[in-house]
């Protein structure tokens, strides 16, 4: 609440003032965003994307977070329905916990778009990142950089749908590339994932102190990658490289640092995810029938492609093709609405 005003140019801010007076039928919608976890910069950017897109459509977004508690998430879903919101966005969660609430929402005529949830209710649009594809991209890059021979550490945890999709790709990759050996694997999603990963990674480095014992780290989530990168930097190990999945603004800063071990990551712009999710919701609100399964196209980011000076994810599109520029989910009606 205390952030300073950034140095923003005039034209950019003027857009929200315009939409207020609009009398478009899709204007003034109340959108609820139901989240399971709200952790790290990724979530914050995702929320920002949602809010930005909803506002540009002249609506208002309300965020319900659940501190990782699925029961609370289900309650929040109920509460949103009771409040009579016009549309619901869901971020993570499990189908067992949410199906009932989603059905109730559909009965009440509230459209639902889910991201990484695994909800299987007819009429719900489900977004997922190309998780397998992201895993493949990074793993292949890893193999390529090391000539198909590497000793790697895997950081991964069970229990999350996207993680498990990434795991599928990982297993397939490992069988296809016998030159790549898994030295050890760990990982836990905690209250303080990055720091806990850092201490665990430090211990792993202790265990394998010699060059060559570990060639690379494959982190299935950027919170893991952050911890691993810090541990490697602190230990002064220049021989170990990190390949990650997901990319938040904060990660980008880490990757750009001189001599950063973090070489590559595959990701969908978190803000883009939010924006696209909102667009599909508005398609539903507009009475259109988009496809029910939407796979978000991941982007591959390599450290070597990044410029000398630090850039933020906002400017990343200038250097990485396809970043932040996705116009997935747009229809003519929506473009028109945005122009209002």
């Amino acid at each position: 609440a205390c952030q300073p005003q950034g140095d923003v140019s005039e034209e950019e801010t003027s857009s929200d003032t315009e939409s207020e007076a609009s009398d478009h039928p899709l204007a003034g919608k109340e959108i609820a965003l139901i989240m399971q976890i709200n952790l790290g910069t990724f979530s914050a950017q995702y929320i920002a994307g949602v809010e930005e897109q909803v506002e540009s459509f002249g609506g208002k977004a309300t965020v319900f977070t659940s501190e990782g508690d699925l029961a609370k998430m289900a309650s929040n879903l109920d509460a949103a329905i009771n409040q009579g919101v016009d549309g619901i966005l869901i971020d993570h969660g499990t189908k067992e916990a949410l199906n009932q609430g989603v059905e109730k929402a559909l009965e009440a005529g509230i459209p639902v778009v889910a991201f990484d949830t695994g909800i299987d209710v007819e009429g719900v649009v489900s977004l997922e990142q190309g998780d397998q594809q992201m895993a493949e991209m990074t793993l292949e890059k890893l193999a390529e950089d090391n000539g198909g021979e590497a000793n790697i550490v895997k950081i991964w945890t069970a229990g999350f749908a996207p993680m498990e999709r990434r795991q599928v790709a990982y297993e397939k990759f490992m069988t296809d590339n016998p030159g790549i050996q898994e030295v050890t694997a760990f990982g836990s999603a905690t209250d303080n994932t990055a720091l806990d990963t850092q201490s665990q990674m430090e211990a792993v480095l202790k265990q394998y102190p010699n060059e060559g014992e570990i060639t690379a780290v494959w982190a299935s989530w950027d919170e893991f990658a952050k911890g691993a990168v810090r541990a490697i930097e602190q230990a002064g190990r220049t021989d170990i490289k990190v390949y990650g999945i997901d990319m938040s603004d904060e990660d980008l800063q880490l990757m750009q640092k001189d001599g950063s071990p973090w070489l590559a990551s595959a990701a969908v712009d978190p803000a883009d995810i939010g924006r696209i999710q909102v667009r599909y919701l508005y398609q539903l609100l507009n009475g259109e029938q988009p496809e029910e399964k939407v796979v978000l196209e991941p982007v591959f980011i390599e450290a070597e492609n990044l410029p000398e000076e630090t850039v933020t994810t906002d400017e990343l599109s200038e250097y990485v093709e396809g970043w932040g520029a996705s116009d997935q989910g747009y229809t003519d009606d929506l473009r028109e609405l945005e122009g209002q």
Binding site: F64, T65, A74, D78, A80, N82, Q83, G84, G159, S188
Partner: protein
């Protein structure tokens, strides 16, 4: 209950102020609740509806069960910090019994409760026999049980037909009958709400209207005097911690049934919330001590507040401020009143 109060002696010059405090203490919490409900109702039409209230009740049902357990330990002047972990353990155990071992429903319900009994027994062993203060003993148990539940599942959450680390997929699923406990409806109210109401009522009757309740309160009030009146304080403390363990297990079972999977660490964030509910409940109807109705009421106040605040579109990150603020206010009323009462003696 302790609602009857002696007529003010009239000797006090500031008896008006005193009466105001008295009133605030007795009805303040209720007045606050009515005000909150009224306020939110004027803001949003969606708030004061049957559906919303039944949802609020369902959303507080798990915390309320936990908080009832804490209430029992506080009544005997103890404190159970391990309820959150115990709930987590019971969550994963009940899920695993179905998913991993395909057990019949009755076992799925009984075994977690036995675990609750066991944790309560260990707690009271540490407290009563070893003599570790309640807070520290249950803090240690909080860690141990949390570690146990993660070790049991090897860090995985448990869901239908999950892949097993040993290869293959788990044979079982959460049964429909089990899920009904958490997701079903009965006579127009969600099943968890019924369970909560029955437990609140049972706890209320036990604590306020039975011999046992009397013994629990008296032991908490003055353990030495209770001993010399023929009460075995050890047994009483044991009972209270076992009850607390059972309530935590019930909360865990309910959680599994509600979300349809055995989430890891489900109870950890709920522990502090349960404690907060109990403390807000102190000031209900001027009880000035832990009591079942107050606990329910405390959970409801917090639940309604959070529900209303989301309607108000307050940012989620401000909720904790409000939760803390309500807690401080309730505690301040209770303890300012206690000081008054004490200085009169």
């Amino acid at each position: 209950m302790q609602v009857a109060e002696k007529k003010s002696l009239g000797k006090n010059k500031n008896s008006v102020k005193e009466n105001a405090i008295q009133f605030l203490f007795k009805y303040g919490a209720i007045a606050l609740l009515i005000f909150i409900i009224f306020y939110f109702s004027t803001i949003s039409d969606a708030f004061f509806t049957y559906g919303n209230f039944s949802d609020i009740l369902r959303s507080i049902s798990i915390v309320t069960l936990l908080a009832l357990g804490v209430t029992f330990t506080l009544v005997v002047d103890g404190f159970d910090l391990s309820v959150g972990s115990t709930m987590s353990l019971s969550t994963v155990v009940s899920a695993s019994l179905m998913v991993w071992y395909d057990m019949p429903l009755w076992l799925v319900l009984i075994l977690p409760l036995l675990i609750g009994v066991f944790v309560g027994a260990v707690n009271s062993f540490l407290i009563v026999v070893i003599g570790i203060p309640d807070l520290l003993a249950t803090l240690s148990m909080m860690y141990i049980v949390a570690g146990l539940h993660r070790t049991y599942t090897e860090g995985y959450s448990i869901y239908n037909n999950m892949p097993l680390t040993s290869g293959g997929t788990a044979p079982g699923q959460l049964s429909e009958a089990f899920l009904w406990i958490g997701q079903g409806q009965m006579l127009g109210l969600p099943v968890p709400v019924w369970i909560m109401l029955v437990m609140v009522l049972a706890s209320y009757v036990v604590l306020n209207h039975t011999r046992w309740g009397r013994v629990l309160y008296m032991t908490g009030g003055n353990a030495e005097a209770a001993t010399l009146s023929g009460v075995s304080v050890k047994k009483v403390k044991f009972t209270a911690y076992v009850i607390s363990g059972i309530f935590a297990s019930m909360a865990g079972i309910l959680f599994t049934a509600r979300v349809g999977s055995g989430q890891i660490d489900a109870g950890a964030p709920l522990m502090m919330e349960a404690v907060a509910a109990v403390f807000v409940g102190y000031s209900v109807l001027g009880a000035g001590k832990p009591n079942a109705l107050g606990t329910f009421f405390g959970a409801a106040v917090i639940g309604i507040l959070l529900n209303g605040l989301t309607i108000l579109n307050l940012p989620y990150y401000a909720f904790d401020i409000i939760k803390g603020g309500v807690l401080v206010a309730a505690l301040a009323v209770t303890y300012v009143y206690a000081k008054k009462k004490f200085s009169k003696a």
